[in-house]
């Protein structure tokens, strides 16, 4: 009797989650600033990307730098489906229009996820034989190749068309991008995906496959000796991660109402890697928290006062961190601290206009600077491999830390 009871309970939880998300969607859509709503959606998409990459990089210990490529495949596949077949589907499906839209959107997302997963299989089988840096570079290469293919696909396919139609032929838009994708993504769908990916990866990590992943991460040779099929494990993790990246791509395309090759560059892959590494390789809550923090900080950095605030906080925070370390040399410490503060203030006062005119790049530079400083001071990421336990009043729950490799 326990199994059906468990299923009933789970179904209840699922219904409650869906209901809560739907309620939040309605409330947030009307109650908060659209700008903040926009940031929330971007946070959600980043979480899906980061958690899925964490399965590959954090739990299985493979270093993928091509997540944007899979995001592109999923995004373009689902975007092209709703763009080209959407109107026809909605007209023919025997449901009221909102229901047809949901059916269309979900099937588009699933198509994107399946295609991205298939691409993950094609990329993963050969390249997961490589290790470390080589795998990173190979996945980077695949990511760039996917982008070049996306740019050239229209021209390749248009060969099958009559000559007169070739120039105006649009399948996925080539270098110009595909604009006019309907906006189906909203808080509900994005955070449903967030709940889905977090639950899936959490449960997966506790399953036999997840244990195998962790064994491969800790020592591939030892894992193979213990009977783990290392290739199958790595490829499966890669395929699952890629499929979720594809789904995130679909959510992204249906949110910004378009798909543009420049959204899926090497920088996008780096961005996801940064979230995973800063949050802690192998920490789900780390990825979630960092995704939110990074998107918020990024938006604060859009204005000069915001950037200045971040910088002041950064200096004060750095001083607070190094305070305990340097009790013996307080004089030098205060001098350094004062020099930083005065230097920053002088810069803000005298170079205000110049900085203001280059604020977009200042944001990127700060992002890179924070990344370097965090890596130098906390290379294991914010949470290492620990998880924040939200149930116990955010008290950090120490799970048995795996022995360092």
């Amino acid at each position: 009797m326990s199994a059906p009871a468990g299923m009933v309970r789970r179904a209840g939880v699922a219904v409650a989650v869906v209901g809560l998300l739907a309620l939040l969607e309605i409330v947030l859509r009307h109650a908060i600033n659209p700008y903040i709503y926009d940031i929330l959606i971007r946070i959600g998409i980043t979480i899906v990307l980061a958690v899925s990459l964490n399965l590959i990089n954090g739990f299985t210990g493979q270093f993928s730098l091509g997540h944007a490529g899979f995001m592109a495949i999923g995004g373009y596949a689902s975007g092209a489906l709703t763009y080209h077949l959407g109107p026809r589907w909605i007209a023919t499906l025997p449901f009221p229009e909102p229901v047809s839209q949901i059916v269309l959107f979900v099937s588009a997302l699933l198509l994107g996820a399946v295609l991205a997963g298939a691409a993950g299989l094609i990329v993963g089988v050969p390249s997961l034989r490589l290790k470390g840096d080589y795998l990173a570079i190979a996945t980077l290469g695949f990511g760039e190749i996917i982008r070049v293919m996306v740019i050239n696909l229209d021209r390749m396919v248009s060969v099958t068309r009559p000559v007169a139609e070739r120039d105006s032929y649009v399948l996925i838009g080539g270098a110009k991008g595909l604009s006019g994708v309907p906006q189906y993504s909203n808080f509900f769908w994005v955070f449903l995906a967030v709940v889905g990916v977090v639950l899936m990866v959490r449960n997966l990590v506790r399953s036999a496959l997840g244990r195998a992943c962790i064994a491969v991460r800790e020592d591939e040779i030892a894992a193979a000796a213990m009977g783990v099929d290392t290739t199958r494990t790595k490829v499966l993790a890669f395929v699952i991660g890629s499929a979720w990246a594809g789904l995130a791509g679909g959510l992204h395309g249906h949110f910004i109402q378009g798909l543009y090759p420049n959204d899926f560059t090497f920088l996008q892959s780096i961005d996801v890697v940064v979230v995973v590494v800063l949050g802690g390789n192998g920490s789900l809550t780390g990825s979630v928290v960092t995704a939110a923090l990074l998107r918020i900080v990024e938006n604060v950095l859009r204005t000069l006062p915001g950037a200045a605030t971040v910088f002041y906080l950064f200096i004060v925070g750095g001083a607070a961190l190094s305070w305990s370390k340097s009790k013996a040399r307080r004089g030098a410490f205060f001098l350094k601290f004062a020099v930083y503060l005065i230097g920053l203030t002088l810069m803000l006062v005298f170079m205000h206009d110049w900085l203001q005119s280059r604020i977009a790049f200042l944001r990127g530079a700060l992002y890179a600077f924070i990344l370097i400083v965090l890596m130098l001071n906390r290379p294991q990421g914010l949470l290492g491999r620990h998880e924040l336990d939200f149930g116990g009043l955010l008290r950090r729950l120490r799970r048995t830390p795996p022995a360092a490799a």
Partner: protein, 344 residues
């Protein structure tokens, strides 16, 4: 065809110079120095500002051009030294992923910092080397017109008098020899291309000499073989690694200036793709292997110009990565790389 070969070699020399820096750093540290492509960019910008400052931009002369090269290489070497000292050295004992992420961070910092300091726009690089052709092969006209026809030669008749299948080869504007051959032999080799190849060869020879014949080079090879054992034998690891970064950055800066003269525009993001492609070149030749980096760079340059020559220029960035993946799958140690066994 011949023209594409020459263009490919010029591009390949630039890639080879950048690839050397990657391969040396990887050889001693096992670190992909993502910031290397941006050092190349910095080198070009240092060249730009130094040539304006020294007056080489207004009146180029050989001593001034050499001075611009030396100063820019020194400045880039200083940046390379600082990056190693402040970003990579503190992380040397930690897992390599931390260094890799930091390298990516340094690369982003240099790119965005470059856009802040230099401005995001393209800048025209001063013509330090004149772009007069050094060597030209063109269809030969019949015997000079003035000998045949008395009076002023008419350009139209001169052009009409082109003899099919006959070619003249001119060096520095003066005819050197003529020959008969079928096919397309049209060729223009600019002085910039010749100088790119010459400077690259000189620098590569110097580097090979340093690595094979000097005490510092021996220390570099020892570290590359086994860092800990080298340290135990009294090699001063820190200074040798710093030296590696200095040399690699200087070479990248030279490549940056050469490429900037060739193009001739520079911008703060110019280092991203050449950096990645040069890394691919290093992997292709066998990472950690100096002749391999040169070979890989040349092959990469040739592959890219052939793709462009075939009319597939939208694929030119994909070819590098396709080569990379192919080589990683078929022969991961690279064309000239040594086999390394996996230790348990």
């Amino acid at each position: 065809m011949l023209q594409q070969l020459v263009n490919g070699i010029a591009l390949g020399s630039v890639y080879a110079l950048i690839a050397l820096g990657y391969t040396m750093v990887y050889g001693v540290l096992r670190l992909i120095n993502f910031a290397h492509g941006d050092i190349y960019m910095l080198g070009a910008f240092f060249g730009y500002y130094i040539s304006r400052w020294t007056g080489a931009a207004q009146h180029a002369s050989l001593p001034l051009t050499v001075l611009v090269f030396i100063l820019s290489m020194a400045a880039a070497a200083a940046v390379g030294f600082c990056i190693e000292r402040f970003a990579y050295r503190p992380l040397r004992t930690l897992p390599r992923i931390a260094s890799l992420i930091t390298a990516i961070g340094v690369s982003l910092l240099l790119e965005f910092g470059g856009q802040i300091v230099f401005g995001p726009n393209f800048k025209a690089f001063p013509p330090l080397i004149s772009d007069r052709p050094a060597l030209v092969i063109e269809p030969a006209t019949q015997v000079p017109a003035e000998v045949l026809v008395p009076g002023a030669p008419d350009p139209a008749t001169a052009a009409a008098a082109i003899v099919p299948g006959h070619w003249r080869c001119a060096v520095g504007g003066k005819e050197w020899f003529r020959f008969r051959a079928g096919g397309d032999w049209n060729l223009v080799v600019s002085r910039v291309q010749v100088i790119i190849l010459m400077v690259s060869l000189v620098l590569m020879t110097a580097l090979t000499w340093i690595v094979l014949r000097t005490k510092m080079g021996r220390a570099m090879r020892a570290i590359s073989y086994d860092l800990r054992a080298a340290a135990l034998m009294g090699v001063t690891i820190d200074s040798v690694i710093a030296f590696t970064f200095v040399i690699g950055s200087a070479l990248a800066a030279a490549a940056g200036i050469l490429d900037a003269i060739y193009k001739p525009t520079i911008n703060p993001l110019m280092g991203v793709l050449p950096g990645l492609k040069a890394f691919v070149a290093a992997v292709l030749g066998g990472i950690g292997n100096i002749p391999g980096a040169m070979l890989g760079g040349m092959l990469m340059g040739l592959a890219e110009t052939s793709v462009v020559a075939l009319g597939l220029s939208t694929y030119r960035d994909a070819i590098a990565f396709s080569i990379l993946i192919l080589i990683l799958l078929v022969r991961p140690r690279g064309l000239l790389g040594a086999v390394s066994e996996e230790k348990v």
